[in-house]
């Protein structure tokens, strides 16, 4: 899979630089550098699923900037151009802002113009004294839609037998 910065930059409010097939960086008007990309899953859903990550270089929380949201939308739209795309996310718990990140994913999904084309499945895993917020997004016309949804739910069920988990 190779995503295209050219296509992203046609709509993106910030100029996106491509680092490799699945990774980009951009700088906001506030001078915050963001890196965003996808990383192949190795453990659960296999090579057809990718973890989505975003990181900025600001040590404090970055100022609110709706254009960052719009860039992310452009990147995700590029990812979901392909019908066989499966995106996984795990909200980074390192600074205890994981619930906020989870709500941002849900806000993005619920506000996304073309959300009817996609399915979002989420779960919260009570893992070693903290909650891990996770989700999977795939296109409704994914050729293995039912199998992947079943696999994700089985993964959640399996985790629930090992940890306390709250499927939503």
């Amino acid at each position: 899979m190779r995503l295209s910065a050219d296509r992203i930059n046609r709509k993106s409010p910030y100029w996106v630089i491509q680092l490799d097939e699945l990774t980009f960086r951009f700088v906001t008007k506030n001078g915050i550098l963001y890196r965003v990309g996808f990383y192949q899953d190795r453990f659960f859903l296999g090579s057809r699923a990718y973890h989505f990550f975003i990181a900025n270089d600001s040590e404090a929380s970055a100022p609110k900037d709706g254009d960052v949201f719009r860039v992310i939308t452009c990147v995700l739209e590029e990812f979901f151009r392909q019908d066989a795309s499966v995106m996984l996310y795990i909200c980074d718990p390192h600074d205890h802002r994981e619930a906020i990140r989870d709500s941002l994913y849900k806000r993005w999904f619920n506000g996304y113009t073309h959300k009817r084309r996609l399915t979002l499945e989420t779960a919260e895993i009570n893992f070693d004294n903290y909650i891990v917020y996770t989700g999977m997004i795939l296109r409704n016309d994914h050729p293995e839609y039912d199998e992947l949804l079943t696999a994700y739910r089985e993964f959640v069920q399996r985790a629930s037998s090992l940890y306390q988990i709250q499927p939503k």
Binding site: D20, R25, D41, F44, R48, I125, L162
Partner: protein, 43 residues
């Protein structure tokens, strides 16, 4: 056989280890991005 079913074959211990490894993927991704930026000469 669907690859996404592979976690079904994990023992409980393997499943937990895979979950932990998955939680560390962001660090791995960030290291790979830093390496790529170095290769491209981008700071």
């Amino acid at each position: 056989m669907m690859e996404e079913k592979k976690f079904k074959n994990y023992s409980d211990q393997e499943f937990k280890e895979a979950l932990r490894a998955t939680l560390n993927l962001k660090k791995e991704w960030m290291a790979s991005v830093a390496q790529r930026e170095k290769e491209l000469g981008i700071q």
